[in-house]
């Protein structure tokens, strides 16, 4: 579906995107994670054909991006971070207009509006919508022509928990319909929940790429934490799951029924990101 080989690009004479190589399979949700200015959006701009003066190979839907024509956009849907809507038009008119730009099979506008709970506000002007409503409308705008490939830029950015949940459910529903989805985000929780694979982007380079689960597991991220009392004072012990049998204190505490609390602790994708890149997400 998407393949890049040794992708390089810069806005200036100084290298910015450096030797990016990755591929995304059909039906996969792939996430680009990184702090602001890391190069995520630039990579997305290259993948959607806004930037073409790159070096290396970039193939999307079997087309080299440098050679695409406008029909390329019949098969991809893009949801930019900020809503791109006509404020003076109603939600329905917005969708009807954007739908009219495509020639292939279209999705039912009523169904799309219902899916994001905007059906009853369909005739309200987009300019009168709240931020959450605009984000939902913007998302379904990218789906009107039923594209096989979706690019989502910070899809949950600035949304309240309820709208964020709704958006994530919609994304998962599109995946279950067989869509390939590229997400650009700096929200690690969303990425861990939604993405099949993620790539950590820092300073225009991929620092790590794998499934969120594998990235966490590779860093020995799981540990067992237990507390017990000794000489009247509460103490804490830790060990990794693989070494439980070698932890003599833990073995003794279990044998003597002296454990006060015990639980496992997993690192988050954000912790792993910091370990791998030495950078915080901001």
């Amino acid at each position: 579906m998407i393949t890049t080989e040794n992708l390089n690009f810069s806005y200036t004479s100084k290298p910015f995107i450096k030797n990016i190589t990755f591929s995304v399979n059909n039906g996969e949700i792939f996430g680009f994670l990184g702090p602001s200015g890391a190069g995520k959006s630039t990579i997305q701009k290259i993948l959607i054909g806004i930037i073409k003066n790159y070096s290396g190979k970039v193939s999307v839907n079997g087309c080299e991006i440098k050679n695409i024509n406008n029909s390329f956009y019949e098969h991809i849907g893009i949801d930019f971070e900020f809503p791109t809507l006509y404020d003076k038009l109603s939600a329905r008119k917005n969708l009807e207009f954007f739908s009219s730009l495509y020639s292939g099979k279209k999705r039912s506008i009523d169904e799309l509006l219902k899916s994001v709970d905007l059906y009853n506000d369909a005739d309200k002007k987009a300019g009168e919508f709240s931020k959450g409503m605009k984000s939902r409308l913007n998302f379904i705008k990218a789906l009107v022509h039923d594209p096989g490939l979706l690019f989502l830029d910070e899809p949950t950015s600035g949304l309240d928990p309820a709208n964020s949940r709704l958006m994530k459910d919609m994304i998962m529903k599109e995946k279950s319909n067989g869509k390939t989805i590229i997400i650009t985000t700096h929200n690690m929780e969303d990425a861990a929940e939604l993405c099949d694979r993620v790539a950590f982007i820092v300073d225009g380079q991929i620092k790590a790429m794998d499934t969120p689960h594998n990235l966490i597991m590779k860093k020995n991220a799981y540990e067992i934490i237990y507390t017990y009392k000794e000489n009247g004072k509460e103490k804490t012990g830790r060990c990794v799951p693989e070494n439980t049998a070698d932890d003599n204190i833990l073995k003794t505490l279990i044998a003597q029924n002296r454990i006060l609390t015990i639980h496992s602790k997993e690192q988050t994708l954000g912790d792993v990101f910091m370990d791998v890149t030495g950078r915080r997400l901001s």
Binding site: I50, N70, Y73, T84, Y86, F97, L101, S103
Partner: protein, 237 residues
Amino acid sequence: MTAIMSAFKRFLSGILDDFMLTVCILAPIIMGAALRFGIPILENFLCRTFSESYILKPYYLIFDLLLVVMTPMMLAFSGVMTTLEELDNGTAKYLMVTPVGKTGYLTSRICVLPAAGIIYSVIVIIIFGISDINLLMNFLLSVTSAVTGIIVSFLVVAFAGNKVEGMALTKLCGIFILGIPAVFFLPTPISYLCGVIPSYWFTLMAKSNNYIYALPILATSAVWFILIYKKFSSKLV
């Protein structure tokens, strides 16, 4: 093509939904009527008052040239205001990643209106013209005015951050018609300073009825395009 047509229809609706922009589209007719009926009355009044046989008549061509230039300029202004709004709300960026594409977007937003302005301008001059511009000259002047309209559109989109700045810049772009009075009222060596503006050569072409001046019009327009295009293009990405 269907996508570009759809995008153009939306663009046109955007203009017609805005009262000020609709008036701008009608402005050449209002201005033409004012010149056609007002200037001869004013000329009669001045001639009677100062006992002269003619006062304004030698300058009737200036009024017609202003009308020719204003037609695509007003259309370009309407287009630019709508384009700036689309840049502001992000729909411009979005349309460029739909089957409309960047070229389709530019065609539907910047080029179609001034191009339509050619026909509009020719008709306006036929109906309201007060000098003796022949049809071929009328057409050539209208084409070159449309090119100036596109240059002004590029310039305003490239440098204006929003609609308010766009309006101010469009007013500033009034210097693009300075070539018209320069030919009539400035002595020759000084008037050459206005040679960087296509309207200077455009006025010489009309005044001397010599089509060779189409070449410097093309050359100066090309230079303006080259100077502005990079900045304009970067604004769209």
